[in-house]
Symmetry: C2
């Protein structure tokens, strides 16, 4: 069709992960099934544009500074973040919890904003993407997605047992989605990390489609049932405000 060069370039960039942040030309070529000469052309083009940077000593390539620049720009101009920043920051500070904003992208939750800058730090890095089925944001989104899409999603992803509390049975998960809809918010008690509890509320856009979710997280002590009764309404309010700004118009009830 069109533009395979660009597609290959993005494939190269997609190889870089937290576990393997440095790649040699020949390994990239092997991973993508391309000739080394071809790969070298792509890689050096990406280097000239600062999408990759080469360590002069080891000849290995790492992600370049231009990506940092573009990533920060995308985050800051992302409409969901722009709408959610003020209310979620306020709630997070006011309630001493960690506030997050995220979307479901390629079957994983991509955290697009977080009030916890710790989480971006190298030491405890798990990546900006987390599974959907066992996180506050993911559950909130899945609970309000069309049923067939949810089933397809659950079939595609691996329901890994992260902690002893993690729900991995599709049937029980769907029951939990129903419960989430009845409550209006998701509840995840130590299913991702043992000492982390989260509540999540979906954000809607035009035509009532879920476009993302917001969440508050903290240690188990902060999420006793009484605390949740206080937190949830505030987060629901915030999410409604964000949804409205995202173009959501609640259906009139008389229809």
């Amino acid at each position: 069709m069109s533009q395979q060069s660009i597609h290959r370039a993005t494939q190269v960039l997609g190889l870089f992960t937290f576990e393997k942040p440095s790649w040699r030309v020949s390994d990239i070529a092997k991973a993508l099934g391309l000739a080394v000469g071809t790969t070298h052309g792509i890689v050096s083009a990406l280097e000239r544009c600062e999408f990759l940077a080469q360590d002069p000593a080891s000849k290995e390539y790492k992600l370049g500074l231009k990506l940092l620049e573009l990533g920060a720009l995308q985050s800051v101009t992302f409409s969901l973040n722009r709408k959610a920043a003020t209310p979620i920051n306020y709630l997070s500070r006011h309630t001493s919890t960690i506030g997050r904003v995220g979307v479901l992208n390629n079957d994983v939750v991509l955290t697009t904003m977080s009030t916890d800058h710790q989480e971006w730090h190298p030491s405890s890095y798990i990546g900006p993407t987390v599974p959907a089925f066992c996180t506050g944001i993911g559950r909130a989104i899945l609970a309000y997605m069309p049923g067939e899409e949810v089933i397809a999603h659950l079939a595609r992803v691996k329901l890994h047992q992260y902690t002893s509390k993690t729900l991995t049975d599709p049937v029980r998960l769907r029951a939990e989605f129903t419960a989430t809809r009845e409550r209006g918010y998701s509840l995840v008690y130590g299913e991702t990390l043992v000492h982390l509890d989260t509540i999540g509320v979906p954000v809607f856009g035009p035509e009532g489609r879920v476009v993302g979710a917001v969440s508050l997280s903290g240690n188990p002590g902060q999420f006793a049932s009484g605390d949740v009764a206080e937190l949830a309404p505030q987060l629901l309010d915030a999410a409604m405000e964000i949804s409205t700004h995202m173009g959501y118009r609640p259906q009139p009830h008389f229809l």
Copy 2:
């Protein structure tokens, strides 16, 4: 030469700024002097790879989620950040100041890490890039760069008067670089933002070249002369530790 497709793709991405985060195909074509058909090919390839996202209603393109992912990954695997994270976080908390890590890239300072998550928020966004000549990190780097490179840099950039205190005279700036070398750290009192004071210390790599800098910022009350006398040695210590981890080996004095 090679790979103009990729180069054009990055040119497209480079058009997106905080001031203009949304582009139409025809405007991109105009800005880059390409045919609209050609531009559409590039843009839709970038969209397929999630480097761009199209608003279905307005048909305008914005930066895509993949860039957020890659940007976060680059930040977290960036070796300077990895080495600086622990000491700068500690210092920042311990002294109630804002800690930053940055490099000089294309004549501007790119902030690669910051303990102030406020600054990434839409409301007060000035971009991850800031001028070098009037910021703590920038001054620290410039002061330790080879003289001819500094002169070339100062000739290329516009020395804008951000506040009434901003030094814009190249001669006085070079005197300040000398003073910075004598002190070992840069001092910037309200030259970028009136109510922000900063001290910056360079980070060295192999062969003694400056590879970046770290800084501490706060409001003017926190940076009285006595306070600086306490802060500076700690930041100098931290920077030396980071430099060592970056491969810097101090020259033996007996040579």
